[in-house]
C-alpha cells in the first residue's frame, strides 16, 4: 500500500468527514430548539429568549453555521449543554469504553464464528451443522435489548452471579459483551459457513485435493483463507457500527459508552455533544476501514488496492 494511496484515501475521508459534519450540523438543528428542555416549564419567555441569545440560537442558521465552521477549524466543539463542560472531553471519556466493549465482543464473535462456521462447513449436512446453524440463526435474530433484559433477570436477579448493570471491574463487562456478541456471532457463523462451503466446492480446492494434498491442509489453507475475506468485510462493517456505540445495550446496562452518550445527546438536544460524538466515531470508522483494507491485502495477495 503506497503512501500515495494512503494520502488519497485520507483526502477523500476528510472530504466525507466535512460533508458528514455539515449534514449533522443542519440535521441536529432540525430536531428542534433545546431551550424548552433546559429551562423549567415555568420559566418566562424572557428567560427563554435570554438562553437562546446566549446559545446563539437567535441568529439565522447561516450565521450559526459560519460561527460553527470557525470553531471547527480550531477543533473547538463547544460546551455540552447537558454535561456543562467541553463536549470533546465528555466524548473522549466515553469512547475508550465503547471501543473496548466492541473490540471484546467482536473478537469473541469472530473467533467463535471461524471456529463454528468452519466446523459446520466441513461437516455440512450433519447434525453438528444443523445445531450450529440453528443456534447461530437464533443468535443473529435475537433483539439485543430483549436479550439484555432476559440476561439481567436470569444472571443478576435469579442466579445473583453477575451485577445487573454499571461499570467497573471485568465482571461488569460480561453481560454487555454477551449481548453485543450474539448478533455478530450469528451473522459471522453464517458467512464463514457459506463461504467455506463455496470454497470447498470450488475448483481449486478440488484440484488441490486431486493433487493429493491432505484434507486438513486443504480445508484450512485454501478454503479458510477464502472464507475469511467476506468475514473480515462484515466484521469491519460491524466494527464500524459498534464504534457508534452499543446503543441500546449501553442504555440497558447503564454502560458509560458513546452509544448511550449519543442517544442521550440526541434526546436532550445537546448539539455540541452530538457533533463531537459523531466526529470521533467517524474518525474511528475511518481507521477501521483502513485496517480492514490492510488485512485484506495481507490475507489475499490477489486483492489489488484500487488507485
Amino acid at each position: 500500500m503506497s503512501a500515495g494511496y494512503f494520502l488519497k484515501r485520507t483526502a477523500f475521508a476528510l472530504l466525507a468527514l466535512a460533508g458528514l459534519m455539515i449534514a449533522v450540523f443542519f440535521l441536529v438543528r432540525l430536531t428542534g430548539d433545546p431551550v424548552n428542555l433546559y429551562l423549567p416549564v415555568d420559566a418566562s419567555q424572557g428567560a427563554r429568549d435570554a438562553m437562546r441569545t446566549k446559545l446563539g440560537l437567535d441568529q439565522p442558521v447561516f450565521f450559526q453555521f459560519l460561527d460553527w465552521g470557525g470553531q471547527m477549524l480550531r477543533f473547538d466543539f463547544g460546551t455540552s449543554l447537558w454535561h456543562n463542560r467541553p463536549a470533546i472531553e465528555v466524548v473522549l471519556q466515553a469512547l475508550p469504553n465503547t471501543l473496548a466493549l466492541g473490540a471484546i465482543a467482536l473478537t469473541f464473535a469472530f473467533g467463535g464464528a471461524v471456529l463454528f462456521g468452519s466446523v459446520a462447513a466441513v461437516r455440512a449436512g450433519s447434525w453438528v451443522d444443523r445445531v450450529i446453524n440453528l443456534v447461530s440463526q437464533a443468535a443473529a435474530s435475537v433483539p439485543d435489548f430483549w436479550l439484555g433484559l432476559m440476561c439481567i433477570l436470569v444472571f443478576a436477579v435469579t442466579l445473583r452471579v453477575l451485577p445487573t448493570s454499571g461499570f467497573g471491574g471485568p465482571i461488569y463487562w460480561v453481560l454487555p459483551v454477551v449481548c453485543l456478541f450474539a448478533r455478530p456471532f450469528g451473522t459471522l457463523v453464517q458467512i464463514v459457513r457459506g463461504s467455506m462451503l463455496e470454497a470447498l466446492n470450488a475448483a481449486f480446492v478440488r484440484t488441490a485435493r486431486a493433487k493429493g494434498a491432505q484434507t486438513g491442509r486443504v480445508t484450512f489453507v485454501h478454503a479458510l483463507r477464502n472464507a475469511l475475506l467476506p468475514a473480515i468485510t462484515v466484521t469491519g462493517d460491524l466494527a464500524a457500527q459498534f464504534a457508534g456505540g452499543g446503543g441500546v445495550v449501553e442504555v440497558v446496562f447503564g454502560f458509560p459508552g458513546i452509544g448511550k452518550l449519543l442517544i442521550d445527546g440526541i434526546l436532550k438536544r445537546d448539539f455540541a455533544l452530538v457533533q463531537a460524538s459523531i466526529f470521533c466515531v467517524a474518525i474511528v470508522i475511518f481507521i477501521i476501514n483502513i485496517a480492514v483494507d490492510m488485512l485484506y491485502a495481507a490475507i489475499d495477495p490477489r486483492v489489488r488496492i484500487e488507485q
Binding site: A43, K54, V128, L149, V157, L162, S165, I171, G254, P256
Partner: protein, 507 residues
Amino acid sequence: MTAQQPLRWGATLLTTLLLGTAMASPASAQADSLTVVVTDEAKSLDPCDTDLSNNSRVLRNNVTETLVNLDPANGAVLPSLATEWSQVDDLTWEFKLREGVMFHDGTPFDAAAVAAALIRAQSPDLGCEVANADLKGVVFTPEVVDPLTLRISTDIVEPILPNKMASLDIGSPSTPADAKTRAPIGTGPYTLAAWNEGQSVVLAGFDGYWGDKPAIANVNIFWRAESAVRAAMVDTGEAQIAFEIAPQDATTANDYAYLNAETSLLRIDQAIAPLDDKRVREALNLAIDRDGLIGTVFHAGAQKAMQVVLPSVFGYNPNIPVWTYDPERSRALLEQARADGVAVDTEIVLYGRIGIYPNSSESLEAIQAMLLDAGFNVRLEMMETNPWLAKLIKPWEGTRQPSILQSQIDNTQGDAVFTLPNRFTTDGNTSTTVDTALDALIANASKATGEERQKLFQEAFKVIAVDDINIVPLFHMVTSARIAPSITYVPDVQAGNELKLKSITYR
C-alpha cells in the same frame, strides 16, 4: 485436525468464561455506606440548579442547605440555616442566621454568603433553575445587617418570601459568580467526594457539620434508565434505595409507594371548537373510568384528583367533587351539543408524552378507547419530550387542531401560587385558559395573605374544575421506591427533590 476438535475448544473456552465470571460476586453493602439508584445522571450539581430532581436529590440538605425547609406534611416553614425570620415591612423580611456553621471549604457561613448566593442565583447570565422556576417574577435584593442578620427586600409584595427561600441552596462564597460549578461547596452533612461522569456521584460525611453527624458516612448515587434494573439492584444488594419503580415492578414487600407531589391531568385546548363548548368538556370528564385505571395502568395507591394540587398545598379546596364515570350522560351531553350545532365529530388529537410517568402510553391508549366509546373522534399521538414541550409551552405555532394534552403538574413548594398563574391565567406560558375574571381572582389571591389568600385560591380551583371545567383531572400520583429492609428510610412527598440522607440509618 478433525472437526470435533474446534468444537471442544469452543466449549472449554465458554465454560472457562462462565465459571470465571461466576467466581467473583457483585459488591455488597457495608455498614457505613449506602447506594442509591435514580433514573438519570445529575445535570450540573450547581447549587442554583436545584429545581430538577436529578440535581436536587444529590444536593438539597445533603451537600447544600437552605435558609428554611418546608414541612412535608403541611407545607409549614421550618428553620434550617436561618433560625428565625420576620416581616419588617410590606417589601422587606429579616432573617436571623444560625451560628457556628461552616462551609466544606472552611469559610464561615454568614449573611454575606447568603447575599452572594441570592445575587448569584438571580444572575441573568447564569440562567439558574431556581431563578427560572422558584424566584421568578420578583427581584430579591439582599442587605447584610450584621454577620448573622440578613434583610431581603423585594420590588413587589411577596407574602410567601420565606417559602421561596426554601428553594435557594446556599453555596460557598468561593463559588464562581459568573459560571456554573460542577464542584458544589455547601454547609451540608456531606461533601461531594467524586463525580465520576457517566457512572456515579460519591458523597462523604463532613466532619465539621453543625448538626448531628449522619449515621451513614459514604453514599454512592448511581443512575439506571430501566425500572426493572433499578428494582433488581436492591434485590441483589447492589443498592439500598431505588427510586421510580414502575407499578408493575413494585410488587414486593420492600416497595414503598408515596405521593410524589405530582397530579396528572389532561389539558384541554378550549380555544378550539368543539372544545370551546362546556358540555363537550364535561362529557370528556364523564367518559373516563378513573376507577378502572387505578390499580391497573396506574398504581393502586394513586388517588382520584379533583384539582391539580395535593391536599398538603396551601389553597387546596376540599369541597370540589370527584368526577364519576357516567358514559350515558357523556353521550347525552355530546348529543345535546350536536343538536345545538357544535361540531362534536371533529377529530380531537390526544397528545401524549412518552415516559412522562410509568405506563404513560398505555394509560392514553385506554383513555382513547374510553373516549371513542363515548362517541368522541379521538386520535392518539405519542411524542418525544421536546416536541411535546412545544405543544405545552407558548408560543404555539401555526393553526391548532382541537387537542387535549397529557400533562402532569407538581407542587413541592407548598403554595398554590407556584401552580395557578402560569397554568390558568391568560398570560400563563402553558395556559389554554382565557378568562379575565379568573385572571383577576388569581392575581388577588397571589397578593393576599392568611385566610383571605386561602379563600381566594380555593375559589380559583373551584372555577377551574367546576364552573368552567377547564381540565380533565386524573390522579394524585404515587411513585414507588424499593428500599432494602436493612435500612430505615421512609420517602415522603418531597422525595422527588430531596433524598434526606441524614435521616437514614442501618437497622
